[in-house]
Symmetry: C2
Subunit: 362 residues, 2 copies
């Protein structure tokens, strides 16, 4: 097996903790000695062993002279709940360390590598680097920009409508596509929607498998005023301790939910960057923006997005509601080009997910 | 190899004549004796040998006791340029014939099978029947309905727009996707567009590989009046002997192109069924409808389509021209559901093609 094969194993191991590691990164580790895999490990969540340590703990033999593959640079800082991995790797007398990415955390950022190299360990950095960055795109955004990762998502008919003429939208996509939405929700710290979506659809905005809520994540509604029926699920169901209402500065509400007051733009809309900064301060490092039309349009117009995902059902509706309004583009040659699109078939539904890339606020 | 494997070989052989057989069907044949493939053949076009005969001619040994696989029932009628295949199969003393579909031509329609069975040959019918019907969907439509096969096609941005706010549409899709359009054009007897498309885009409507025109097919423009600039390519280029202008009954033109006058609906639009009947009488058995918005909307609203194909580029434009207008659907639950969607990736562009199925005028 090549370094790339072992690194791909690390990526697969890392994703066993899908939706459980925030605010930490996804990390997997594979220990190889004399060409044989000795043990594997992965990070299972905050406060639990790092992947390297997990793999070391899982080994039932002496590791002197072994190689450890790990998609993220082993840590060297001590101001956290788990002991530094670089020191442990030195102590175990590993011969070689292979990583995909340096840890962007300024407390590590190459210092883990340096520490190990100074101890005489060979370090290979950058194996499947881009794939590693993709796996930890939320973590990198959070650490490097101190802003939540913004993932825009909508579901449309083949002819590009998110609702019919009478505003019905249930259901455009298949059961399987909707199950995938819940799988994606799980990987984010919050779901975010605009006021109209809450008023029209009264959505649960929970992470479910079948009818069962399987994870608590924050649910955020962005509004320019508080004119909501407080009987809506967002304000009244069992999960309203997860509800965050974003309102303009100075606007109060009597609703029994957390309120984040934000600056507004000239047109009275919430200033998205101010909002994202405040959400980041609240420990929300990724938001899954699920519509509707107005809020998706605002994010895209202001080029604030890291990932765009679209579910497309093989249905035709004709006139109806388009996913987006005016995003300031008038000519086809100026269209936003999404990067690194990945297309997946979910039964007869198409799922396209794409990085914001150069178009993003990054 | 199983019967299905051999039949799939027939389908592959048949498609070697892509775009060359109209008005005939795509047919391939494989001859097997003692478990070995003795020879193969396929129909290369009107006036040329049928697939069975081609395979027989290609064999360099006695065929007594052999099995012939052929996706379409061997013919038994004599009012055509090529001799009947069923008789030849009997003469060669084949033991067994395996087919996917009966020939829908009322001159054959089971009579070929009957003739061979009466001569003591074992006939297996219906192997990969649906796949065979799909391969020859144009031929089946032409024979069974005496109407051209209608294939609707458009190209859109990810957010479902066929043009930007300023009506520009060059280019939504990639080179590779556009090359695929020409590959599809080749398999049709005519390209059909609405008047606005010709006026706005002045398209060539030819079948090209690179810059080279590789096949002459008819090009049809549907208009409610003749107010065209006669300098447009449709009226003036080297291919205008292929141009057909569809106009309402009684409307004349001085343009030097063929004119087909058709009935109109109450709203003054061309009656599509009347038009299709007249095109069929002209020997046009398939039309590739490439837009724009108005004509696509009319075909879909009147549920006149056998196949719908959409190219989707990973681009976002916001406001712009939707592929379709009002097709009489007001609620999402009434959306037209396309059947048997096939999705293909052409680089980073998505190509979805789907049968009209139950929604079609069939």
């Amino acid at each position: 097996m090549s370094d790339k094969n072992f690194m791909n194993m690390c990526f697969d191991l890392a994703q066993k903790s899908w939706g459980e590691v925030s605010p930490n990164p996804y990390v997997g580790a594979v220990i190889v000695k004399d060409g044989e895999i000795v043990s594997t490990g992965y990070h299972k969540g905050p406060g639990l062993a790092h992947a390297e340590l997990d793999a070391i703990n899982n080994a039932d033999q002496d590791l002197e002279g072994a190689t450890i593959f790990c998609n993220l640079e082993p840590c060297c800082h001590t101001n956290k709940r788990t002991p530094p991995c670089a020191q442990r790797i030195i102590k175990e007398k590993f011969k070689k360390v292979v990583i995909a990415n340096l840890d962007p955390n300024p407390l590590v950022a190459g210092n883990g590598v340096k520490l190990m190299q100074e101890a005489g360990i060979e370090v290979v950095n950058g194996v499947l680097k881009e794939k590693g960055e993709l796996l930890n795109e939320v973590f990198f955004k959070h650490i490097q920009k101190e802003l939540p990762f913004v993932h825009l998502k909508w579901a449309q008919t083949l002819d590009g409508k998110i609702a019919a003429k009478n505003y019905t939208s249930k259901w455009i996509t298949s059961d399987r596509a909707r199950a995938h939405v819940h799988h994606e929700r799980m990987a984010h710290d919050a779901i975010l929607v605009g006021a109209s979506t809450v008023k029209k659809d009264n959505p649960s905005l929970t992470v479910r498998e079948g009818d069962k809520v399987v994870k608590s994540i924050k649910r955020i509604v962005v509004a320019s005023k508080d004119d909501f029926d407080k009987g809506l699920k967002f304000f009244s169901d069992h999960h309203c301790s997860d509800s965050i209402l974003v309102l303009p500065e100075g606007v109060q509400t009597e609703a029994n939910v957390e309120v984040v007051n934000c600056k507004t733009n000239d047109n009275g809309k919430i200033d998205l960057i101010d909002m994202l900064k405040k959400l980041h301060q609240l420990g929300i490092y990724s938001v899954y923006v699920e519509g509707g039309h107005a809020i998706l349009t605002q994010f895209l117009k202001e080029k604030i997005y890291d990932r765009v995902s679209v579910f497309i059902a093989p249905k035709i509706i004709g006139e109806g509601l388009s996913p987006l309004g005016d995003i300031g583009i008038h000519d086809m040659k100026d269209a936003l080009c999404l990067l690194d699109s990945k297309v997946e078939l979910l039964g007869d539904n198409i799922y396209l997910t794409s990085r914001g890339g150069a178009c993003s606020q990054d």
